[in-house]
């Protein structure tokens, strides 16, 4: 190949590269705004997942609220940016997303006066790791994006906004019923313990620690440290029924999620048996 030919081909390829770069550049604005929308969408998707894990137990699957547990979030008076009587009433000067983000991150130290007639079991806990909760800032942002996505937008609403309704308080299941539901003979066999260990490693170990001593990395910095299952005096206070209740419904003020939605009844009991194994507290 002669030198001139090489130079010619080289120049052609260089020009071609420049043409490709220019063509790519022409579309850049379009691509960037596409990507921004794409990422906003992915944030909402992630928020939906976190909402299902952490929030739905008190605020309802679709933000409709649960009587006695949490107020509805899917409401025009909170989310409609044009008329937000709620924020006006409590004197919030910032934007709605800011309000939601702050509330999720730092919790509510006192009950809202807006739902004064409601009697909630507990305060909104702090969720951000900045305030001792379990969530990272990006998770709080994702939750905010998900909740704000209920706000009436350009599209006509497909689900009517839910207004809070006061219904009957659910009757608690008697303890005997709960204990009857244990799906395997007591005390548990080694097989059950081993299966419980697998579930524990997957779901609980991050906070409760590999050795079941409550010293997992996920639980560091929580207001209330995760339960130490090897502490037998402490565990003696925890009955089987209470243990079951905490695993199924969670302890919202502490970062302990409600596992009832994720694990089946059998799986819950297996995990409980593995957790009670260090102290052998199998009797009710």
């Amino acid at each position: 190949m002669s030198v001139q030919f090489k130079i010619l081909i080289g120049i052609l390829f260089t020009v071609a590269t420049i043409v490709v770069l220019v063509l790519y550049g022409i579309n850049e604005d379009n691509r960037m705004s596409q990507y921004q929308k794409n990422f906003a969408g992915r944030t909402i998707q992630a928020g939906a997942e976190y909402y299902e894990t952490y929030c739905a137990t008190c605020h309802g699957e679709k933000g409709e609220g649960i009587v006695g547990k949490g107020p509805p979030l899917n409401r025009t008076d909170l989310l409609d940016l044009k008329k937000t009587p709620y924020l006006k009433q409590i004197g919030w000067q910032g934007t709605t997303p800011d309000f939601i983000r702050n509330t999720i991150a730092a919790g509510r130290p006192q009950f809202s006066s807006y739902y004064a007639e409601e009697n909630y079991q507990q305060h909104m806990p702090t969720w951000s790791e900045d305030f001792g909760g379990p969530l990272r800032p990006d998770q709080v942002n994702a939750l905010t994006a998900f909740i704000m996505n209920w706000a009436p937008g350009e599209n006509p609403p497909l689900i009517a906004l839910v207004t809070p309704t006061v219904g009957p308080t659910p009757t608690p299941i008697p303890p005997e019923e709960i204990l009857k539901a244990i799906p395997f003979p007591m005390p548990p066999s080694d097989q059950i313990i081993a299966e419980g260990k697998d579930l524990y490693t997957k779901n609980c170990q991050a906070c409760h620690g590999e050795n079941r001593d409550g010293k997992g990395p996920g639980g560091l910095g929580s207001i209330k440290p995760p339960r130490d299952f090897t502490d037998c005096t402490g565990m003696a206070q925890v009955s089987l029924v209470l243990h079951h209740d905490v695993v199924v419904n969670g302890l919202p003020a502490t970062g302990m999620p409600a596992w009832g939605k994720k694990l089946s009844t059998e799986e819950v009991w297996k995990v409980i048996m593995y957790e009670r194994e260090p102290c052998k507290l199998y009797t009710p």
Partner: protein, 673 residues
């Protein structure tokens, strides 16, 4: 062109005159180049002889004359002549052209670091050099970057089919990575809170940001690929043999550095893919024996804690942008210096060892770097740049998954493709079963001498530390120990058998061919074992969910192929009609199906296959009487759908849950194509 030709013609007229006259002056006795300089009176001596211009000097006065530019000074005597009549004017014009030529020539000599106009022209035309000695060699003396390169190569060593330009392309990739990397560095903060956000910023708000990231990723994968191929080529052509043994050794270090560079960059996007791939990669460090001391501390030093966190991210970042590139640059310099100054690129073995001296002589014929090989390299750079840019702009986009979550391990997490072979080793498919079998053999044989072991007892297995052997000791033996040793083992081997050292692969190195084929097969097998296709036992229903609704984008175990988020996400929000679909109705595929219905049918086929497997007795991969329900629900009025795949089957054991659910959410603006 006419002007140019005239100038050249002028030059030849002038002589052997100017051009050749300059050359002897152009170099001092040591061969160092001294550009022809008007100031010292060298070069165009008679042109710049200002002392003869007495008349002009009287007229304009001493000060002005001294301060005039050199070319004007040189012309001053002829200005007076020009006033005397037409002949004087013609002489003045000729003189002006001559002076201008010399000035221009000197300027070009200064810029090109040694070549005049005529030689520069010949350079670009591919003509032989005009002046003597060859002014192109002056460039190697005068210019730093040219001095790094050899003046000439031996002709046979520059054949494309001999080297495939792989060494050059490695350096090209290193340069590409440096340039794109520095641009990315401007927008990136190595903090666990900001890293992911910054990547999103690069992708969504920086013009050409995504292209830079894609180029950096494509370059990284190509660099690993090319370096490995380069090494394979050197092995096959026997170029590691003396006198190139030490060069091979530095090359092995560079191979390890390439892996380390690529791997340390893997963590920086701080998404799930990055986090878990690096967690797996670094988990090997924990097993370095003795575990309690070396394993513990190497893990602590690498990760900056028990798990990867802010400390680990900063460490990986500093390794990636500072420590490793610096070491690599030094090693590249040593490696290249030896190739360029010490022994050159090896000749093709067949030509070097040819009994015919004429062939050997032809192979060693010199081919100059300037301009033949220089333009060849530029051509390579232009073609590669074009291909890499087109590939990154239109085919491949660097994967980005969800934000890293230390509390959730995605299913089928794998190391990067070039470390899959270590992951395959860690699954320990050969040694552990062998040791187990040996254990059984011992236990069953000691029965005959009256020793009865309790069932399930082990003898040798507890002594065998699988992660340490498979994750640390064996890879260390394969990469540094064995690869470092290749030239020295080879030398010893040749001495042992008394064979004549030869580099001809198929003729005199048949053993090498066998070793190469066997080790390639071995590497491919353990690489395959590292992929999720081998020996990973997720429950069958989970596998169905993973195939159609994966938790994260699935990265194929080969380089340069984009990740895949499954058919449902690819289909997109608009094409997913709300409803609850009983999958049993889609058992028989119909031609009238829409794209969505075809996917439902594919899910049902897979569910039925699992049912079939169970009936055939495969309890591990099969499901008893499985049924599936696929639900799509409008979850929020502003474009969010909840997609659920539920699979039910008959419970066979009390611990069996009998159901599996996989839920994903899909927003209308997200794109997964």
């Amino acid at each position: 062109m006419g002007l140019f030709n005239r100038q050249v013609k002028k030059k030849t007229e002038n002589g052997n005159g100017k051009a050749n006259g300059n050359a002897p002056n152009g170099q001092d006795t040591n061969g160092h180049d001294v550009p022809p300089s008007p100031e010292t009176g060298e070069g165009g001596a008679e042109l710049f002889d200002v002392k003869t211009s007495e008349t002009m000097g009287d007229r304009v006065g001493g000060t002005l004359r001294d301060k005039s530019p050199h070319a004007i000074k040189a012309l001053m005597p002829w200005i007076d002549k020009a006033r005397s009549g037409p002949e004087g004017r013609a002489e003045f014009i000729d003189k002006t052209k001559e002076v201008a030529w010399v000035q221009a020539d000197n300027t070009v000599r200064a810029i090109s670091a040694g070549m005049g106009i005529a030689d520069t022209r010949a350079f670009f035309r591919g003509d032989p050099p005009i002046e003597k000695p060859n002014p192109r060699y002056k460039v190697h003396v005068n210019a730093f970057f040219a001095h790094l390169r050899p003046k000439y190569y031996e002709k046979a060593s520059t054949k494309f089919s001999h080297t495939f330009a792989l060494g050059y392309l490695s350096i090209y990739m290193f340069l590409l990575e440096t340039i794109t990397g520095v641009i990315l560095m401007v927008f990136y903060t190595p903090s666990d809170r900001r890293a992911y956000e910054d990547i999103i910023k690069i992708m969504s708000s920086i013009p050409y940001g995504q292209l830079m990231r894609d180029l950096h990723r494509v370059g990284a994968e190509l660099m690993v690929l090319i370096v490995v191929l380069h090494m394979t080529r050197v092995f096959l052509t026997g170029s590691f043999k003396p006198p190139r043994s030490f060069t091979w050794l530095t090359g092995v270090v560079l191979l390890i550095l390439t892996f380390a560079l690529s791997f340390s960059g893997y963590l920086l996007p701080w998404d799930q893919l990055a986090y878990w791939a690096v967690t797996i990669g670094t988990s090997m460090a924990k097993s370095v024996p003795p575990k309690e001391i070396v394993g513990y501390f190497s893990n602590l030093i690498m990760r900056g804690g028990d798990t990867i966190n802010q400390n680990g991210l900063l460490r990986f970042y500093l390794m990636h942008v500072f420590a490793l590139p610096a070491i690599t640059l030094v090693l590249i310099s040593v490696h290249y210096y030896r190739v360029a100054r010490s022994h050159g690129i090896s000749l093709p073995a067949a030509e070097e060892e040819d009994p015919d001296p004429a062939v050997r002589k032809a192979a060693k014929e010199r081919i100059d770097y300037l301009p033949e090989l220089f333009t060849r390299e530029l051509l390579w750079a232009a073609i590669t740049t074009f291909l890499v840019v087109v590939y990154s702009a239109y085919v491949f986009h660097a994967p980005l998954q969800e934000h890293s979550n230390p509390l959730h391990t995605p299913l089928h997490t794998t190391a990067p493709w070039y470390f899959l072979w270590i992951q395959g080793l860690l699954k320990d498919a050969f040694v552990l079963p062998a040791i187990r079998a040996l254990d059984q053999l011992i236990i069953s044989s000691v029965k005959y001498i009256g020793v009865v072991m309790p069932p399930g007892s082990t003898i040798i297995v507890p002594l065998y530390d699988s992660p340490a052997w498979m994750g640390v000791i064996l890879p260390t033996m394969i990469i540094p120990a064995l690869f470092f040793g290749v030239p020295y083992i080879n030398e010893w081997w040749e001495k042992f058998w008394g064979s004549k050292p030869s580099r001809q692969l198929l003729k005199n190195r048949k053993g090498t061919v066998v070793v190469a084929i066997l080790s390639t097969i071995f590497m491919l097998v353990i690489w395959y074992q590292g992929t999720p296709f081998y020996g990973v036992t997720a429950p069958p229903a989970v596998e169905i969910g993973q195939a159609f609704l994966p938790e994260e984008g699935v990265l194929p175990p080969v380089p340069l192929v984009p990740d895949d988020w499954g058919p449902i996400r690819r289909l997109g929000y608009e094409n997913l009609p709300d409803g609850e679909y009983d999958l049993a109705e889609y058992a028989v595929p119909k031609t009238t199906y829409t794209e969505f219905e075809r996917i439902l049918s594919a899910i049902q086929q897979e569910i039925m296959r699992r049912g079939q497997l169970w009936e055939e007795g495969d309890k591990e991969h099969g499901l008893p009487e499985p049924t599936g329900v696929f639900t799509i629900e409008q979850w929020q009025q502003n474009g969010l759908k909840r997609i659920e795949l539920q699979i039910n089957w008959t419970k066979t054991t009390p611990s069996d849950t009998g159901e599996f659910k996989r839920v994903i959410y899909l927003q209308q603006d997200t794109r997964y194509q």
